[in-house]
Every structure is written in C-alpha cells, then in structure tokens.
Subunit: 208 residues, 2 copies
Amino acid sequence: MIFSSKLIEDAVQEFSRLPGIGKKTALRMVLHLMKLDTLQVDEFAGALTRMRHGIRFCKECHNVSDGDTCTICANPGRNRMQVCVVENIRDVIAIESTQQYSGLYHVLGGILSPIDGIGPEQLNIVSLQSRVQTHQIDELIMALSPTIEGDTTVYYIARQLKECPVKITTIARGISFGGELEYADEMTLARSIARRLPIDNYVNLHNS
Amino acid sequence: MIFSSKLIEDAVQEFSRLPGIGKKTALRMVLHLMKLDTLQVDEFAGALTRMRHGIRFCKECHNVSDGDTCTICANPGRNRMQVCVVENIRDVIAIESTQQYSGLYHVLGGILSPIDGIGPEQLNIVSLQSRVQTHQIDELIMALSPTIEGDTTVYYIARQLKECPVKITTIARGISFGGELEYADEMTLARSIARRLPIDNYVNLHNS
C-alpha cells in the first residue's frame, strides 16, 4: 500500500503490528480515528500508555493489578480458603465474568511444556506452594486446559503438594450447554458419561 | 466481561470502540500491548496522537496531507493535465498502490446521495470546477463506484462542466482478472461485451 501521508503511514504501521490486524484493517482503524475529535484520540492513546506504565502483577496471585495487590485478593468478601489455579489472566477474566466463583486465584503464567522450554521454574509454582503452606487453604481448584500439558501440570503440582493437607480438584469436563452430542469428541463424551450426575443435581443446576 | 484491573478495563473499552472490534478482540490487543516494552506502547500511542493532531487536507485536491499541499500535488513529476476524481482517500491509496497512475487527484469526500442528505454542497464539487477553470486540465477520470449514486455524481459533474473544454472519462468496467465469467453480474458482463477490445490490446495489457 502506498500512502501519500507519512502520519497515516506510521499510524497504519503501528496498528498492523497488533495480532490479527492486517494493513487494510489497520487503515480502516486509522481513518476512523481521523474522524474523531482530537480529544477522543488523546483519550484512546492515554488509556494505552496509562495501562502499560501503571500495570502491576499482584504479589499474592500474580493476576494483573493496578497496585501491589489485585482487587480480588484485596476484597474481604472473597473466600480465602479456595484458590483457583489458572494458566493466565485471560482465564481469570473468563471465570470472573461467570460471577459464580467467590474464592481467590493463582495465575501460573503458563503450563508445563518441555517442547516450548517451559519447566516448573518458568511458572509461579513455588509461590503457590508457599501460599498453600503459609495460608489456610482448603481447596485448590485446577482450572487448566484439558490437554496433555494441562494434565501434566495438574499432576506435577499435585505431587509437589502431596505433603500438604489441601484438597485438589479439577473443573468438570463434559458436553457444553447447547452443545450437540454427536459433535462432541470421544474423550469429552466418555468423561461426561463416567461422571454422570443424578437427575436432581441436574435440575438444580438448570434452575440455579 | 469483568476485569479486576481498571487500567485494563479502560484500555479494552477504548479499543472496542474501533470499527469491527468486539470486547474479546480488544482484550487480545490490550494483552498484546501489555507484553511489549513501555517504549513500544509509547510509540504506538504517539503515532496515533501525532497523526490526529498533524493531519491536514490538501488545499488543492482535498487528499490527506501532512502539510498544506499533499505529496502528490507537490510532486513535479506528476502529470498535472490529468485529474482522477475519487470518492475518498481510501480510493487514492488504492489507485496509488497500483503504481500505474501518474496524474493528480480530486477527492470529492463522498458521492451524491439524497437519501443520506448528501447534495452537491456537501461535496468538493465547486473546488473541482474552479480547478478545471483555472488550471490547464485535459482530462477528468471519474473513478467512482459503479452504483446509481456514483453514476448520478458523474452525470452531475459532467453537466456542471459542460462549458469547459475538458475530456471526461470513466474507469473501465468489466470482468476482474481471475474473475469467473459465470459469477459476474449481468450488467458487468453486458458492459464487458459491449466494450470488448481487439485481441492485440489484450495481449499488450497482459504483458505490460
């Protein structure tokens, strides 16, 4: 693409570095910004730089945070005996958005993957151990991806914590709500049959 | 979506105001920016504000410009006798990117569309007339959309300029390169048969 303006070219260049944004989409965004008030564009740019300069990681759970401790860890209304172990902050946002979980989190920052050079040292596992040892935590809910790497990570953490009196659970696998039975993969279908629920549990779940 | 960080929430909010960007895509972009150096994010934000504050419109052709006159109008190597009339700056970028046109442009800023309240006064038609009257222009190439509104605009401009000794042409309509004949609409196909070319023109075009 040939632009007759260096200002537009630079802005398009920057936008097209974002994931999944090609030159044409970048141009569409730049032309959109061009039509806005200067004040609105200043706010847009300001929100990005403020975010990048101000963002911290919670010293307790490694979630993103505006200060030393994230709003979840700082909230006295959360159940401090339950800790949900997730891969990244995207998972925290997903679980928080269900508004059904009231415990704390622990963000690992990835899952074990020897091929990608990610071992236990690259993840926040030592801090998880010390959290379990120094705080009264009843249950660790492992909410990791149902892949070989995810299962390996669950298994590794469970082994590291086998001396600790903490219950380790994993989130349920099964057919999604609205999912068609015939399109489910065999492993999910098999697990959902093995872990079948009495019908009254099912009815309660549906009405809750 | 529930974010535990106001900084992230604000940045996602700003991104999701862009055209075609939903909350999930916005979050993906913000998390990408979070991983970059602060310097890179400052550059990104800087490119956007510099663009918005610095962008001008060329006083000759109404194309975007970094100064009073755009780089195309300021380029002494361009053919000043040819002016290509387009709807918007996106069309200028598209034609420039072909690297086949060496004349000047005139950006109308839209096309006539009474339903949307766009009449001749909303477009840069008066300035086109005065350009034709005060400069020596041989040919106006109308490169507008092949719609009723586009054709109406071409017809209107041609009528306004009927006293001027300027040749008015329109870009060729026909089957696209690589286009399948059977999927072409009837009007395009009919026009491409009516405007058929001698085979030697065709061979030259293909080899140029």
